[in-house]
Each structure stands twice: as C-alpha cells, then as structure tokens.
C-alpha cells in the first residue's frame, strides 16, 4: 500500500515498481472462483485438472491481471490512475507456487493534459519463469 503520493516528477525510465508477492493456495483459488462466480473446474477441481493432463488445478488467467493491477495501484496511490493494462497468460501456476509481480518504467510523457507513464510489467514464479508478460499505462499528478 502506497503511504505517500507518487508524482510524475518522481519517476524516470527504469524506475522500478515495488514488487508484489502472492503465495498461491487452492483455498484462495476457490475464493476467487466464488468471488467472480466462475466455476470452471480447471481452477478448483484437482481431479478434473489432472484428468486433463495438468499437474494440478490452474490459477485463473484474469487473476494474474488482478495481481498486476494491484502492484500498480499500490505503487501509484489513490491520486494516480491506472489507464491501461495488457498481459498475456504464457505459463501456468499451481497451488504451492509463489508469484512475484514486477515492473519498471519504460517511458513518460505528457499528452492531452495528462502525465502518462508507461511500464513493462510481468509475473514470475518461484523459479524465475515469466508467466505473464505485460505492459501498463498510468497517469500521475504533477507537483
């Protein structure tokens, strides 16, 4: 959680976004299925998932997006605005994994009266594999 405001003047190309760590449990995956009212068995039913040839139940694709969004909103605080987030689900995650969201600023510019910051973001597992590469754009206030 950001405790101080982040201003456009505070970030530069290559500024790192504070990482966000998420331990993955089947229990939490079940909660996410319940909270989103999405009951695809691939995400909570271990027998079903193994029957399809997977090692275990899979973390939901959009949950990676939710984690990346949280990393960004924790960083920018309530005065910043998340404008855009793109990501690809390249790798699977399973109960017992520890995921870490990371990111860094790639560009900043002013346009249409907004101060925009573009970032490269991604989600790694405990083996350092990049499971979800992405990009994001945030708008920040100016001092």
């Amino acid at each position: 959680m950001a405790v101080k405001a982040l201003f456009f003047e505070d970030v530069w190309e290559a500024t790192e976004i504070p990482p966000l760590v998420k331990p993955i449990t089947l229990l939490q995956m079940c909660m996410y299925s319940a909270a989103t009212w999405n009951f695809y068995k691939l995400h909570w039913d271990t027998n079903f998932s193994r029957g399809l040839g997977f090692k275990d139940a899979n973390v939901h694709g959009p949950l990676f997006g939710a984690f990346l969004a949280q990393m960004l909103t924790d960083w920018i605080g309530p005065e910043g605005t998340l404008k855009r987030l793109a990501y690809a689900n390249r790798g699977m995650s399973f109960p017992g994994d520890t995921l870490t969201c990371k990111g860094k600023v790639t560009r900043k510019y002013a346009r249409d009266g907004q101060n925009l910051v573009e970032c490269e973001v991604w989600v790694e597992n405990q083996s350092g594999e990049n499971l979800a590469p992405g990009t994001a754009t945030v708008a920040l206030p100016s001092r």
Binding site: N38, P62, G65, L85, Y87, A88
Partner: protein, 162 residues
C-alpha cells in the same frame, strides 16, 4: 500451407455482437469478496470513511473488477463449470487457450452500478503452430453502467486448435 481452418461458418462470426444486460447492482459485499479473494485490501475499495476523503468520494471497485466478476449468476454452465454462452468455435477446434488481454479502464465501478456488457467479435485469423493450425479469435467487451458511462473495455484474444 494446409487447408484453412476458418470455415465460412467461422468467418461469419466476425462482427457478431452479443449484449448482456445488467442484473443486480454492484454491492459493497461483492466488492469485498473480490478484494479478499485477490488479497487486495486497499481501503479505497473497503473503507467508506477513507474513500470519502479521496477524489472518488466513496468506495469504488478495483479496476479489474468489471472485467472479472460474472453478474449473470443463473447463466447456464456446462459439466466442466464453464458458461455455455462463452465464445467458442465448432469442432474440431475444441481446445482453447487464452492469448492475451488488454484492459482499458474507464470510470470506476461503484456500489449501486448496474453493469451491462456488449461483446463484439472483431477479428478471426489463423497461423501455423508447431503442432498444427491455430485459429485466433479477438473480441472486445465494453462494460457500461446505468448512466451509459464506460467502466472499461476488455480486448481479449483466444486461440483455438484441434
């Protein structure tokens, strides 16, 4: 290159629209369940007193909420738990994988919002993959509230294969 996997029936899907009218209004409890499930306890989404003092003037839903929470709780689902109304291609292209999302965030969703969604299939194309043909389907889902304000646009791509 092998015969195209894109049949006339599949080609005809481009431009197809589906409208999902809003059902029950967003409630603080639904927002809270999403936040606890994701593990994002930002007071902006949970604490009315805190949120009132910000530029939002009250609790809002997290940005990814509109794209992720299924409001149609009585939508028919198949044996595997997936909704029958999802985008799918006819056999033999039964296998599917997610191939990317782009979220464009609009106004934040708030308690009391009735969220409708309009889905439009924007593009279908194929590529040769390592083990066979791949058919990509791209669609755009636009989420609006009862005041016709855009809460978000999700551009999603799926890949279908045999």
């Amino acid at each position: 290159m092998a015969d195209s996997l894109i049949t006339p029936e599949i080609r005809a899907m481009v431009g197809q629209e589906a409208f999902f009218p809003g059902t029950e209004a967003v409630e603080k409890g639904v927002i809270k369940r999403y936040c606890v499930a994701v593990g994002d306890l930002n007071p902006l989404y949970l604490d009315e007193e805190y949120a009132r003092k910000t530029r939002y003037g009250g609790i809002i839903a997290p940005p990814t909420f509109v794209f992720s929470v299924n409001n149609k709780v009585d939508a028919p689902v198949g044996e595997d738990g997936r909704p029958l109304g999802r985008v799918k291609l006819p056999p033999p292209l039964n296998r599917i994988a997610r191939a990317g999302n782009e979220y464009e965030f609009g106004k934040p969703a708030r308690p009391g919002d009735v969220i409708s969604a309009r889905r439009k299939i924007t593009s279908i194309f194929e590529k040769e993959g390592k083990t066979g043909g791949l058919v990509f389907v791209e669609y755009e889902i636009t989420y609006t509230n009862q005041r016709q304000e855009v809460l978000g646009i999700n551009r999603e791509r799926l890949v279908f294969f045999k």
